[in-house]
Symmetry: C2
Subunit: 439 residues, 2 copies
Amino acid sequence: LYVARDRWDWDQSWVSEAAEEAEAVASISCSGHGRAYPDGLIVEGLPVCECNDCYRGPDCSEFVPDCVVDADSGDPMFLEPFWMKHAASSTIVVPAWHRMSYEFNDGSLISEELKNQILKLHDIIRNANTSGRHIIFGAGATQLLNAAVYALSHDDDPSEARVVASAPYYPVYKEQTELFDSEDFEFSGDTSSWKNDYDPLHSYIELVTSPNNPDGKLRKAVLQGQSVHFIHDLAYYWPHFTAIPAPADENLVLFTLSKLTGHAGSRFGWALVKDEAVYQRMLTYMSLSTYGVPRETQLRVLKLLKVVIEEGEGREIFEFGFQIMSKRWEDIHRIISMSKRFSLQDIGPQFCSFNQGVREASPAFAWLKCEKEEDMDCYNVLKASKIIGREGVMFGAESRFVRLSLVKSQDDFNLLLQRIEKMVRQESNIILEENNEAP
Amino acid sequence: LYVARDRWDWDQSWVSEAAEEAEAVASISCSGHGRAYPDGLIVEGLPVCECNDCYRGPDCSEFVPDCVVDADSGDPMFLEPFWMKHAASSTIVVPAWHRMSYEFNDGSLISEELKNQILKLHDIIRNANTSGRHIIFGAGATQLLNAAVYALSHDDDPSEARVVASAPYYPVYKEQTELFDSEDFEFSGDTSSWKNDYDPLHSYIELVTSPNNPDGKLRKAVLQGQSVHFIHDLAYYWPHFTAIPAPADENLVLFTLSKLTGHAGSRFGWALVKDEAVYQRMLTYMSLSTYGVPRETQLRVLKLLKVVIEEGEGREIFEFGFQIMSKRWEDIHRIISMSKRFSLQDIGPQFCSFNQGVREASPAFAWLKCEKEEDMDCYNVLKASKIIGREGVMFGAESRFVRLSLVKSQDDFNLLLQRIEKMVRQESNIILEENNEAP
């Protein structure tokens, strides 16, 4: 095929203005505790530094000693240094005329090239069987979740589908299903309560999260029966966070860019769907709810995934991620294991096909339990020590559990660790004092 | 405030790789009948030309004489030449580390700078009163529409809200409301059927589209009563498409970038909301349905709006848009006015505060009517002449209406005009023949 390369009639320097602006902003120093963005607040002609939690000042160099540490959000900033390192290969230039149309040239809402990169990545990491699957893009796993629930509840069965998940479960499952308040499905709580109470006249949609959010454990579906559909939420099924025993081979699986490259703000996810009719209903949902994922997002994701696939033969980002996450887990685990007041979930070493051997745990979250009888309200126990976690009750669990995020920036994690260490040290002092007071 | 400008420790040339790639792709010639994009299909190392309808060949230079003209989609490609002209000022560079986080630094999902640009633009164009309004971003008006319906139906009134619109209405209103199949609202058809049958025990949500899609007429709300809420869809309330008699001053108005700058593929829209509680419910909806609009999209929109505001003191793009759209309307109007078989909607000249005087019509769509009794199925009448429009029945109107898009590329419009001219010429020939046959 012949591709003409005649020059258009505009000035070749059309990129330079944007390039200079981007370089000027990137060169603003925020002391390693923050960053400036071109769309930030502008003061004296330049955007200001946006500081990490507990840092302030015009260049983020002032540490705020008694600040509250926020370990609530699963904000995957731990991967930012990887992208700083690969700045040159991962930057995109977007001219204003880039894909203004509603659709791609084939009438779809999906970049065929991006689709191919995603399939290629799964083949390298071997975390999902992609053969014979349809692929759909959405605004993170968030939007795809409801698209899938919609698609699975609109089968031939006229009954209202029961949407269930095994506690502790990701809070959005319940919140989102209840928000949409549909006539076709309703959130029906913990899977275990239906296991022995299974009603074949109802249809069920079981959400299976593996590894699980919050506790990082690999999971299998619980319910069985003809009228049970499954959505496998595999957001964390990447070598950063878990061993990959085998490729997922389920009917409908969800992935999100957030937990793969760390680009949570890009709101990009995808679903791999086996059943043609379910796929078509998901397409209808995407078309009527948002009409697809922005073209600049698809362009950016394509570039990011090319770097992921090319650097270190597709291994570098995962080795980088695993190194950080396993170190963080080791650190927090070492401290908590000295405590009698707190405990963590138990995740043992496991065989991983990506690592070609047994590997240590590296979960995205600590699922912390307050063990003492009087510490029923674990969230407030931590809050008193200036740590904000996410309350166990939101996950359908007891209030003596709290989820602590381990995926944020190094600043955030360091502070969290310090605070936890202080709590555990105080506990030991109290125990020592109690022992000294004993007769 | 002091902003440090020390250089980071990376190579200053980190933008050049992306810049060169973008320039190489932009320099691919597609004969003015297509364009190549970096995320297009790659052949021999370069992306291929993606041709406009009815053009083909590696450089889109071959015209396909008997092809079908697609005037179905409201794809606003007529603005693409404006952005080609302003290439240098409207391009963005997005490094991989740009806003990876789920939230902005203030915890919100919205760029404060972009919000300010939008408010500024409304103040220049004077098409909406922004004072005392909250602003929300969404994936085009599409997502905001359901967010608004959700927020307005979750008031104190426990009854199912009736969602109504005056025919002919934008088909998505019905399709989307039915898709979500909520227990809290249901699509209830044409507003006029409820005007005299108003039930004060029910709550109503009236969708008011002004100017209206499909017919371009300025509209006011129809229903009155305590339990009536309004959503004003002002997607086309820009000087490209209509006179602006006065700023909209409604409780909840929707706008979309698609019809302002032509970036339909960016899926960006915003709502201006007066009521605090409604705003909060819309925020909840955005948070649980998609968790906000991608950061790269917000960055791009910010840049585009800066160009819109700065070029010609905020007038250039609108003068450009009006010139094209009024010329297209004049052209199609001149041809159809020679026909007895077809007619167009009637939009007279009107006072416009932006033009500071009376101006001619420049609607986004032709709302074509087949006048002959036997031409009940107007869609197929046009299809027989190789024109694809959108069927009137989809708008809640008779099948003798068809919507034809006037906002696509100049190639698309030229072809549409040729086909219509041919139809009208055939009609005159037939009439001449009939007259000759008469005794």
